[in-house]
């Protein structure tokens, strides 16, 4: 929820007058959020409670993506995450055989020692996984399972069996972009999975579920659709019994557009989920990543600063290895600490926050588009799952460049030179004319244009890393912050294989 720390006068040490969520009509809506709403909705323990406590203390929670097939290495990774110089939560990322439900392939790969790209939680005996977590995962260090499955019941059963109760995904966000499962089946499977997860509340647990709807394809999806799907998935989770959720949004290519988007997401979440513990989680860029360690680091630092400015409570980091391979624990650790340091630095920037109104005071129509999309979907059916299925069938929701047969596939996007995402075509989505100002839409991309757009962020940040003084930060003519100059060089030495 944005607006946390956005209130004036309270807890100045936390966030001195953050401009991102105030100064607009958002203020009245957001004002009740930070401390007033917390006691009513926030559970006493669990993942959501941990994040709420960190937020109250003024810290951005940072989290890696991390999963290794070997239990001992998985345990070492979790321990290192816990012991990082940052407020962290742990992650067990699953391998893609487990994700797709091919447990036989996961078992075979383990038996034959073939490399797996994550932790096979449904294949290792539950006792093994309990031993991985023992003495590490607890109320002070919650661990979330990240998977990517359109049909996650086997995963939810496996994580509950080892004492975990936090995971992520969604009936749309883990179906359309990442599977060929019919949407209707994914909705049914996610409904059962939500109910299974929520059933642990009977035993005093506080299960937590995060939407992945703020990512959709990772890049080239305009913010309004990301926000709409994230909010709709959170409403789906609530309908099926979850009382602690988080809403995701993935960093895109223009910080101003992202700041506006995160502010809108927080506002809509506050409005539509008033009775549920919730927070906004930002994903560091999910598209084609800078190749240079310096570029990757700058992009991550921008994500952390964005999270602080726009009131996200948690950030999932990316590492300097992202463009090349699955990161090591050490690379993840450095990413966590880099992000935490950048967040603290951003929070301590009184000059900028107290000064000119934040750039996100500009309203480019993201909120109007997101409201139109959410409203159109919710009108289709009182049941959120059925409404989602009907919405995709009607093309009211249409994920650009998504190949899934249940996606209408008529929406297209492109990237302005400054990184702003634009619709080239909205297909049948009910947002024509809302944000385009009546001007001509940018042309449909071909293969070369697509590659240029997909690599825009990579190119921009690699260039910035190669030429640091041009860092286009508006505020002070301070020479160059020591951190951005010295560290990339150090990282070069450390990360070059």
């Amino acid at each position: 929820m944005t607006g946390h720390g956005g209130g004036t006068g309270d807890a100045p040490a936390v966030r001195p007058g953050a401009p991102a969520t105030t100064g607009t009509s958002a203020a009245p809506v957001a004002s009740g959020a930070p401390d007033a709403s917390a006691p009513s909705a926030v559970p006493a323990s669990g993942f959501g409670a941990f994040v709420a406590r960190a937020r109250a203390a003024g810290a951005l929670v940072v989290q890696p993506r991390m999963g290794m097939a070997d239990p001992l290495r998985m345990r070492d990774g979790l321990r290192a995450t816990r012991d990082a110089d940052a407020v962290t939560v742990g992650t067990v990322t699953l391998d893609s055989y487990t994700r797709t439900g091919d447990l036989e392939a996961a078992r075979r790969a383990l038996a034959e020692g073939v490399g797996l790209n994550g932790y096979p939680i449904a294949t290792h005996p539950a006792d093994t996984t309990r031993a991985v977590l023992r003495g590490i995962a607890d109320a002070r260090f919650p661990v979330q399972v990240r998977h990517g499955s359109a049909m996650p019941e086997h995963i939810v059963r496996a994580l509950l069996a080892v004492g975990l109760d936090a995971t992520e995904g969604g009936p749309v966000s883990y179906c359309l972009p990442y599977s060929r499962t019919p949407l209707r089946e994914a909705v049914t499977a996610w409904q059962r999975s939500c109910e299974l997860l929520a059933s642990t509340r009977e035993y005093g647990a506080s299960p937590h579920l995060e939407t992945f709807g703020g990512c959709l394809m990772g890049q080239l999806c305009p913010p309004s659709l990301l926000i709409a799907v994230s909010v709709l998935e959170a409403l789906f989770f609530r309908q099926h019994g979850l009382t602690s959720v988080s809403l995701s949004y993935a960093q895109q290519a223009d910080p101003r557009q992202d700041e506006e988007a995160l502010t809108v997401l927080g506002r809509l979440a506050g409005e539509l989920l008033p009775d549920v513990d919730h927070h906004v989680v930002l994903y560091a860029y999910m598209g084609v990543f800078p190749r240079s360690p310096g570029g990757a680091r700058l992009l991550l630092e921008d994500a952390a600063r964005l999270a602080v400015r726009a009131g996200a409570a948690r950030l999932i980091v990316k590492t300097t290895a992202e463009a090349h391979r699955i990161p090591t624990v050490g690379e993840n650790l450095r990413a966590l600490e880099t992000a935490a340091a950048a967040a603290a630095d951003e929070r301590a920037r009184p000059a900028l926050t107290a000064g000119a109104p934040g750039p996100c005071a500009v309203d480019t129509g993201i909120e109007a588009e997101a409201r139109a999309l959410i409203g159109a979907v919710l009108e289709l059916d009182a049941d959120v799952g059925r409404a989602l299925v009907r919405a995709f069938a009607a093309g009211y929701l249409d994920v650009p460049y998504c190949l899934h047969p249940d996606n209408a596939g008529r929406a297209r996007t492109s990237l302005a030179p400054d990184g702003r995402l634009l619709w080239s075509s909205v297909g049948s989505m009910p947002i024509a004319g809302i944000a385009d100002g009546g001007g001509p839409r940018p042309p449909i991309l071909g293969s070369a244009g697509l590659i240029t757009a997909l690599s825009h962020v990579q190119r921009t940040y690699d260039d910035r890393a190669a030429d640091p003084p041009r860092t286009p930060l508006p505020p002070p003519p301070t020479p160059v912050p020591p951190r951005t100059t010295s560290t990339p060089r150090r990282e070069l030495g450390l990360t070059t294989p």
Binding site: T100, G115, N117, R325, P400, Y401, H404, G409
Partner: protein, 163 residues
């Protein structure tokens, strides 16, 4: 055709190839597939894009149904080598696909760029080309360019004229 999000881009030439673009069962990535479809269509070829997480049986069934001039397997999740070795065996086991030009590319292992040993193993297993990350698009284009145009072929697909 409309089933897939990326509509025909550019004009398919009469001499264009019939191409199946696909990934494998465990791989959920699709940008690589979207790009390959656009690229091949701009070169005048017709593409059937099978999308994410294609099970082996579906992959083989679609290729048997379409009898393409070229099969392009693309994978970036790190399981590509393992999955590719299995899939090529299944494809080559079908008489009508035994000689269909079939290539694989992307990020095929979980630890960085390809090794010569990995490439050799894939070629030995039956692939006609291996295009691992890093400047391989041009190599791929020239491979595609080296294939005989569809209309000029007098023999049905898989008759052994190519290799």
């Amino acid at each position: 055709m409309e089933q897939h999000a990326v509509e025909q881009h550019g004009k398919a030439e009469p001499t264009g190839l019939e191409v199946v673009v696909t990934t494998m069962a465990s791989d959920s990535h699709t940008w690589n597939l979207v790009f390959l479809q656009l690229l091949l269509e701009e070169l005048g070829h017709r593409v059937t894009n099978l999308g994410a997480c294609v099970p082996d049986e579906l992959l083989v069934a679609e290729c048997r149904r379409i009898e393409p001039d070229l099969i392009v397997l693309s994978s970036v999740n790190g399981h590509g080598f393992n999955d590719g070795m299995r899939v090529i065996e299944a494809l080559r086991a079908r008489p009508e696909l035994a000689r269909t030009p079939t290539v694989i590319g992307g990020k095929l292992g979980i630890s960085g760029s390809g090794t010569p040993a990995r490439q050799r193993a894939l070629l030995t297993a039956g692939f006609d080309g291996v295009f691992e990350e890093g400047g391989s698009v041009l190599d791929f284009q020239s491979f595609v360019g080296s294939l005989p145009a569809a209309a000029s072929r007098t023999l049905p697909a898989g008759s052994g004229v190519l290799l």
